[in-house]
């Protein structure tokens, strides 16, 4: 059946990221903190070096703030509130640029790093002079794929109110939840995660004009819920991540993509740009092998992993920003954004440049 082509589509108007000022290489954070924390873990340095991360940004300096040991979750969230207001606010401000702020009707954001009420979205909307009637939606704690529910919310909002703009933001300050548990799984996690914020402003445009979000697809692999988690503890939020996750994703990706692409009459061979959440090098390698993509086809994902680390929900937006900045996608080319997280949940959006 030929899909009905809508007259207008959710369209990217701008995208902008922001990062905290502190940047550390893998060697600097290892020598300054992890070498001591993980001294009992066999091959800890090699595990951290093998993450594919070269450097990351940090909302605080864990070498200083966590040197004396653990910290309560409340103290960590206070830092989230302070740093988040600054960095998330900078990202939103840059994305809005010269756009008419009176047309912003909705603001959707996500984070897995901290919670407060009122949230960062309210304070940023106020600071930037956005309408007091703005509709705010906060997507909390879903995991690294959470930019997708944010984008979907924005897509729905734009479809319902095509004259309005929608802010879609993902912000992560994962370093606020570092802890010193000497476990190989935690070494991998601490070697991967970094901090960043990224904001998309979405509007509506006639079909074929601009970078457009065509459709999404989601799958929950219900039986795999134990493979990944993000839980609250008294001394911070803590992740568990099975080393078998990349293999599960690789075994399911072909069928998943068919469900995303077939309704548009497309298949994987039609996709020029692969914007895959770089959860870790094994995820990119496993999916690349399964989809028969060499490393150059996922250049932006590898670049973001190297220069930012895994920034949770923010990461796939950083990949989109990087594709637009450096890969020069041509009008009409297709891209697939994919993300993964607890559930296991697999998310995707089909984009046309």
């Amino acid at each position: 059946m030929t899909p009905v082509v809508p007259e207008r589509r959710p369209t990217l108007l701008s995208i902008a990221s922001a990062v905290p000022p502190l940047s550390l290489t893998q060697d600097e954070i290892y020598e300054g903190l992890f070498k001591d924390w993980f001294k009992e873990v066999r091959n800890a340095q090699r595990i951290i070096q093998n993450t594919g991360v070269r450097r990351r940004f940090f909302a605080w300096d864990p070498r200083v703030e966590l040197k004396q040991g653990r910290m309560g979750v409340g103290d960590r969230v206070r830092v989230y509130e302070r740093v988040g207001l600054q960095v998330t606010g900078e990202s939103v401000q840059k994305a809005l640029g010269e756009l008419d702020r009176s047309r912003v009707g909705a603001f959707t954001m996500t984070t897995n790093s901290g919670y407060s009420g009122p949230g960062l979205d309210l304070f940023i909307a106020k600071k930037l002079g956005l309408p007091s009637s703005i509709r705010r939606t906060f997507v909390g704690h879903m995991g690294c794929f959470a930019a997708f529910p944010v984008l979907r919310t924005a897509m729905d909002s734009v479809a319902a109110r095509p004259d309005e703009y929608v802010i879609a933001n993902a912000s992560e300050y994962s370093s606020l939840h570092y802890h010193d548990t000497p476990d190989p799984e935690q070494v991998v996690i601490h070697g991967l995660f970094g901090d960043a914020a990224c904001t998309v402003v979405m509007g509506s445009a006639p079909d074929g004009e601009g970078v457009q979000f065509l459709r999404s697809h989601t799958e929950q692999l219900y039986e795999t819920h134990e493979l990944m988690g993000w839980h609250m503890h008294n001394d911070g939020f803590r992740m568990n991540l099975s080393p078998y996750v990349p293999f599960v994703l690789a075994e399911h990706v072909d069928g998943f993509l068919e469900k995303l692409l077939a309704p548009e009459g497309l298949h994987a061979g039609d996709i020029k740009h692969w914007l895959i959440h770089p959860g870790g090098p094994k995820i990119l390698e496993g999916l690349g092998r399964q989809l028969k993509l060499d490393k150059s086809r996922m250049r932006a994902s590898w670049h973001v992993l190297s220069e930012y680390g895994n920034c949770g929900a923010t990461t796939v937006l950083l990949v989109l920003e990087e594709v637009l900045r450096a890969d020069n996608p041509q009008r009409g080319e297709y891209g697939v954004m994919m993300g993964f997280g607890p559930g296991l949940t697999v998310e995707s959006i089909l984009v046309r440049f």
């Binding site: 039986e223 795999t224 134990e226 099975s242 080393p243 078998y244 990349p246 293999f247 075994e251 094994k282």
Partner: protein
């Protein structure tokens, strides 16, 4: 392919992919991640070889069980393969067994 042959094959693959181990380390009861210290790079090499050499097996049900701490034992993987191996392997009539047998030589883990 009998269970003992599968066990020998899996043990050989583990020893080839994680060269720091001694044969006696790789018991049926050893957890690959917690006892043998296999990281994602070792696991990838092992799974890749199993995928190459044990065709048409989806490992997700084993990954789910294996992800519980300490449950990814050598024996559990052998049992899984034993239960799900294609019938042709048992009959020894296709390239499946040849690949299985050919794969017994250890390989350099860095090349895997």
């Amino acid at each position: 392919m009998h269970r003992q042959e599968i066990l020998d094959h899996v043990r050989n693959i583990i020893l080839a992919t994680h060269t720091g181990l001694f044969p006696d380390d790789v018991s049926e009861f050893a957890s690959m991640t917690y006892d043998l210290g296999m990281d994602s790079f070792h696991l990838e090499s092992m799974i890749s070889r199993l995928k190459d050499e044990v065709a048409n097996i989806e490992f997700t049900p084993w990954y789910i069980k294996a992800s519980r701490r300490g449950h990814d034992t050598v024996g559990s993987l052998v049992d899984f393969i034993d239960e799900r191996q294609p019938r042709s392997l048992e009959c020894g009539e296709t390239r499946g067994e040849a690949a299985f047998t050919d794969g017994l030589e250890p390989r350099d883990s860095e090349a895997a």
